[in-house]
Amino acid sequence: MMGSGGMIVMDEDTCMVDVARYFIDFLTDESCGKCVPCREGLLQMHKILTRITGGKGRDGDLELLEELSAVAMEAALCALGKSAPNPFLSTLKYFREEYEAHIRDQRCPARSCKELIAFWIDPAQCQACGACRRKCPADAVAGEKNRIHVVDQGKCTKCGTCFEVCPPRFAAVRKLSGEPVPAPLPEAERTIARKSKTDA
């Protein structure tokens, strides 16, 4: 895809559209700016890819990207410009459905593009340990002891801290993409009834 013999291993949590955007961003910066297909073409490709990862992709964006790629490959002056579209072309070749999910369903299959995901605490799993509430840098998690925690979607900056600190044995914090966030539990139903626990 890019580079010279190096190998990058990525798992299903990496969004391939975002990877293409990252590499094109890098190449836009590397471009010397002499010839148009590279200087302007890559800039436009970067704008379109940023739009797609932001959930504002449009029909025809993929065709436009393919056309810009073809022109850069044929008409750019040097090998940087001629090979610059490769990250886009190879991710499109092997992960076209990820591009289509972003554009058509506003869904990021890797749950990585911030504009397309939401963090949500599954009320059935939350044990009110408070880890996410204490670590949240945006004070977006509401809750207290023995009360199921709730993410305030308006305040959430999607940093993912809650997802990381939620103890694996609860695994209550979920990343959602392409589906509506369930309405928060009414205040009255948030108290956790503990069966086995005696007075401490």
Binding site: C35, V36, P37, R39, L42
Partner: protein
């Protein structure tokens, strides 16, 4: 210098070794569009609008006619669906920066370029380098140059040199394919030397 014969758009064209495809085609009356070319200046090859197809050893390559040297028995095509597509997209990219340039508009009409395909970002300069190269090669003053690189590249006058040389010269203004220099000059003049209000 050896004479060579090549084929451009099916027409046999005689040329001298060392000439570029663009020079050979122009001498034979075959038009190839250009923006960054000027006969007084060294070939630059930045606008890529003069891209043509050549057949070399069984391969079809797309090359910039303004920098590609002629070869004996070379087969060249100045128009093809792929060439037209390259020129159309290049013009569309340019039109995002200089939507009102008459030369770009005329070429856009010829190649069916949509001026609204890309988001407008009117910087006017299309980095053809004519002013920069003319100042360096013909006037040997280097009063204007390129700064930065990639998408942030711009033309910039060197104030120390420009203050001394430019006022009496201004020969780069008419070269500009988007008339940006002209506009910049008028603007600077207006700001720096406001005309007295009419009585």
């Amino acid at each position: 210098m050896r004479d060579v014969t090549l084929e451009i758009d099916g027409q046999a064209v005689k040329a001298t070794e060392g000439m570029t495809l663009l020079a050979a085609a122009t001498a034979a009356g075959i038009p190839i569009p250009t923006l960054c070319h000027h006969e007084l200046l060294e070939p630059f090859g930045s606008c890529r609008l003069c891209t043509v197809e050549v057949d070399v050893r069984g391969w079809t390559n797309r090359v910039a006619a303004c920098v590609y040297p002629v070869e004996d028995k070379l087969v060249v095509r100045t128009r093809s669906p792929e060439i037209d597509r390259i020129r159309r997209v290049i013009l569309e990219l340019y039109l995002a920066h200089a939507p009102d340039s008459p030369r770009l508009k005329a070429l856009a009409g010829e190649y069916g370029a949509d001026p609204n395909r890309f988001e407008k970002e009117a910087s006017f300069c299309i980095h053809c380098g004519l002013c920069v190269r003319y100042c360096a090669e013909v006037k040997k003053k280097d009063a204007v140059g390129f700064i930065d690189r990639g998408a942030r590249k711009e033309i910039c006058f060197v104030p120390e040199v420009a203050a001394r040389e430019c006022w009496a010269c201004k020969e780069c203004f008419p070269l500009c394919p988007t008339e940006a220099l002209q506009a910049a000059y008028v603007l600077v003049e207006a700001l720096k030397f406001p005309r007295p209000a009419k009585a």
